[in-house]
Symmetry: C2
Subunit: 157 residues, 2 copies
DNA sequence: CCGTATCCATTCCGATACTG
DNA sequence: CAGTATCGGAATGGATACGG
């Protein structure tokens, strides 16, 4: 895994991540895995994805060390479970979910998560600088000081 | 924007977000915008993307309200700047970057950000539950209690 | 149930040439 | 500089049929 391939931008971590999980389905499969899906048919039902595509994506995710095949109790079939590397995608999926909730629905449109519920159990993301100061207001969800964000070691995110 | 189209999964915020920015280039363009890129040629140079594709993606990002065309000082050309909606993608890009740094490089490989530098100015992501408790260890970056994460209002992330 | 194999349509992307 | 127009190849995705 992380084998030799032609990266879109070999030095940029964002580009590498996008090359690995930036297709139409991978992150949705991972989302379903966070949701508790483990078996081929569960993914297929939830996603409405064609079987050959699903098989292909699962294979790729396993190759990249994001999912892992484990036999179930009876040893009758294998299940797909997140590895540590896969679980680490949680911030990405959560970030996409938060953004989608706020910006990808029309006014009256329903979606699957209540954003304003006080007692919601869904975690939220915070962005902190090196000193633990919060860079993003959780109310407005807008970056406060963009200038502070532009300085990577070589000016690249 | 957020116009009628055939969503991969109409009710899932994650799926909608992926439908909008889940292609090969969009998030990399947004990354460069966070990096300070504003002009067509800047994006093109940084990304090594074909010009027609870039024009297409910029148009789409503007249509989706993620970028905005503004005339520069002299009014001689237009520049592309992030809107609030675009800036809100920061957590997604940052999440991808963190994941890429940790999991998308080989052992000895260099990448553009120093992950272990103490004085780095790069912000980090934290995942907090409703009570402000941290769900993810910043050291291991591994989700501590997956069970707590599986309960959306309808069991969907 | 869990895939594989085949076929086809569509989309995506890059290279090149061209324009104001 | 900032795009548009066109073309061809590659990758992606879906439907269906088939096999262990």
């Amino acid at each position: 895994m992380i084998d030799a391939k032609t990266w879109t931008d070999p030095h940029c971590p964002v580009a590498r991540a996008v090359d690995i999980v930036g297709d139409k389905w991978s992150l949705l499969i991972v989302r379903d895995a966070f949701d508790g899906a483990r078996r081929f048919t569960q993914f297929q039902r939830n996603l409405g994805i064609a079987k050959n595509i699903l098989a292909d994506r699962l294979r790729a995710l396993v190759d990249d060390g994001i999912l892992e095949c484990v036999p179930n109790a009876n040893g009758t079939r294998t299940e797909y479970v997140l590895t540590g590397r896969g679980a680490d995608l949680f911030t990405v999926v959560l970030g996409l979910r938060q953004w989608g909730e706020r910006h990808a629905f029309g006014e009256g449109e329903k979606h699957s998560i209540l954003t304003d519920s006080v007692d919601q159990r869904v975690p939220t993301l915070r962005v902190l600088d090196g000193d633990g100061r919060e860079l993003i207001s959780s109310d407005t969800h807008v970056v406060r000081d963009l200038g502070a964000l532009e300085s990577g070691s070589d000016g690249r995110m």
